[in-house]
């Protein structure tokens, strides 16, 4: 999975030349294309996931990608089919079993955990059934950017465009249903339906990310950019755009690093994103510490109107 032996490239720090050198390899072009698509889709979907506090559901869906891919390899069909099929199916299972009533958070997390355990067990079974010829579950779990075909990139682009289109249509009601479900329901927003549709989008997005970062590092592209952006601003539009930017940046920087260094891609993407998160957190803590001392003498609660 390492690239060190291909050409032992070195950074010239002339960005144009470096990119020309990297993009001389078709597999690198595909890797950058796939990375761009996946990081944008995942950041957008992940932004809603973080706001909805469904990171556990997101993790479970990404784990479902593991048996999906290993079964696809076992059966000799396209791994993409396995990724998307299993992730979307797991999303529907979680949607059908969980959230029967209001405030069913505890029950939902139990259902989600159950699905996750079963998915991992199945994945392990499929790997052992395949016996040896599979070079090991490492690539499935921790990702790889080698050997992404143009066909796969096309599929990623089509699914990604679909996910973004649906998200654009349902975005505002979904935000309403996330922040304030009861009032949204009172205004005629189909809260339950939106929740199911969102889980399916989440399934599709995690399936996309699994093919780049591996199933265990999906959060590098789904959670970290959104969490970082929400640290930096509380304006919804701005923080969504920032999440997309951070996701895209970490992914491409990770790809560049992985091209020049003999260590796995998932590590670089995650580390870059994580560094950004830590910096954002420190920055906000510092900002609040300064702001706190400034607003010590805050005016008391204003009483609007005459009492």
């Amino acid at each position: 999975m390492f690239l060190a032996d291909t050409s032992s490239p070195a950074v010239s720090w002339n960005l144009l030349a470096d990119f020309q050198q990297m993009w001389a390899y078709p597999f690198m072009v595909n890797a950058f294309r796939a990375g761009a698509i996946v990081s944008v889709v995942c950041a957008a979907v992940g932004w809603f996931m973080v706001l909805r506090r469904q990171t556990f559901a997101g993790h479970t869906l990404s784990v479902a990608a593991f048996p999906g891919a290993s079964l696809a390899i076992l059966l000799g069909v396209s791994t993409s089919l396995g990724y998307f099929g299993f992730c979307v199916a797991a999303a529907l299972v979680i949607a059908a079993l969980g959230r029967k009533g209001r405030d069913a958070g505890a029950e939902e997390s139990a259902v989600t955990g159950t699905v996750q355990a079963f998915a991992l067990a199945c994945g392990y079974l499929f790997i052992s059934l395949y016996k040896g010829l599979l070079e090991g579950p490492t690539a499935l779990l921790f990702g790889s950017f080698l050997g992404i075909t143009t066909g796969q990139v096309t599929l990623l682009a089509i699914v990604g465009a679909l996910v973004l289109a649906v998200l654009a249509v349902i975005g505002r009601p979904l935000l309403f249903a996330t922040v304030d479900p009861e009032v949204a329901a009172g205004r005629g927003v189909p809260v339950r339906l939106l929740s199911t549709v969102f889980l399916v989008l989440l399934g599709a997005a995690t399936a996309e990310a699994s093919q780049i970062t591996g199933t265990l590092l999906v959060f590098a592209l789904m959670v970290i950019p959104a969490a970082t952006a929400q640290q930096l601003t509380s304006r919804p539009g701005r923080s969504l755009a920032l999440a997309v930017l951070i996701g895209f940046g970490s992914c491409w920087l990770g790809l560049i690093a992985a091209y020049y260094q003999p260590y796995p891609l998932g590590f670089f993407v995650t580390t870059i994103a994580f560094t950004g998160y830590v910096l954002a957190h420190l920055g906000r803590a510092l900002h609040e510490a300064l702001g706190w001392s400034r607003s010590r003498g805050r005016t008391p609660l204003s009483i609007g109107g005459t009492a």
């Binding site: 706001l51 654009a168 249509v169 349902i170 975005g171 505002r172 009601p173 935000l175 309403f176 922040v179 304030d180 009861e182 009032v183 949204a184 009172g186 205004r187 005629g188 927003v189 929400q230 640290q231 509380s234 304006r235 919804p236 923080s239 005016t299 609660l301 204003s302 009483i303 609007g304 109107g305 005459t306 009492a307």
Partner: protein, 295 residues
Amino acid sequence: MDPSARSTGPKSGAEPVLSLRGAAVRVGGRTLWSGVDLTVGAGEFTAVLGPNGVGKSTLVKVLLGVLPAAAGEVRVLGGVPGARNAAVGYLPQRRSFDASVRIRGVDVVRLGLDGDRWGIPVPGLGRAKRRAARERVAEVVELVGASAYAHRPIGQCSGGEQQRLLIAQALIRRPQVLLLDEPLDSLDLPNQSAIAALLGRICHQEGVSVVMVAHDVNPILHHLDRVVYIAEGGAVAGTPTEVITSETLTRLYRTPVEVLRTSDGRLVVVGQPEAPALHSDRHSEPGAGGGHVSG
């Protein structure tokens, strides 16, 4: 006074904003209340009172058209309930945002305006519309006196601040009726009276009819035009001085109830049946079931 006495009509001769005639509701095969007659005119402040579990929130749901009335006639803004919900603002029972919610107060208010609309606005188009929306948000935030903290993440606002922002959210589409379910619940006393004053002002100055389910009548007492006291079986509606009296409540609950007025003008209802009353002798259990007008 007859327990089902119909309150007098609205101040003007115009069609009432809300009217219930002999209304009843059944939930799970059980009749919660019946024979409720109520008329609310424009710009009137009405409180819905009664013991726990009697179906006060259910009344709000009937007015929203979420639950059908089992009998009688219910009209909201001249139509069947639910038909004109665009002109009805609704504030559900106490909900709060915890500290980690990274969405500003103004965004929550804005969602009340167009949060149910599908699709995203096309950049460059509808600029005037967007400016109008922004101005409306600022206007309604100013109305509830929340301008100082509306741009902070709502999770960092206090309970009273959040409640003001949620009232702004309910008001943003200029509703003619505002339905609130226990909006003062779990607020401290200064905030209770501040929010009550705000609602009184919205009602009497902006001409919005306010119907509010309340636990304690005292914080809102001097803003009220009308109260509805719901009991199992029936209800009484009228002005507070007509309804919150020993005679009326005794007849409504068919058990001795005493209404006392403290020196600072607060009302205390003694003997109201939270649980079925066992004693028929009026003076055998002084203070039993005492407390403020509660329900």
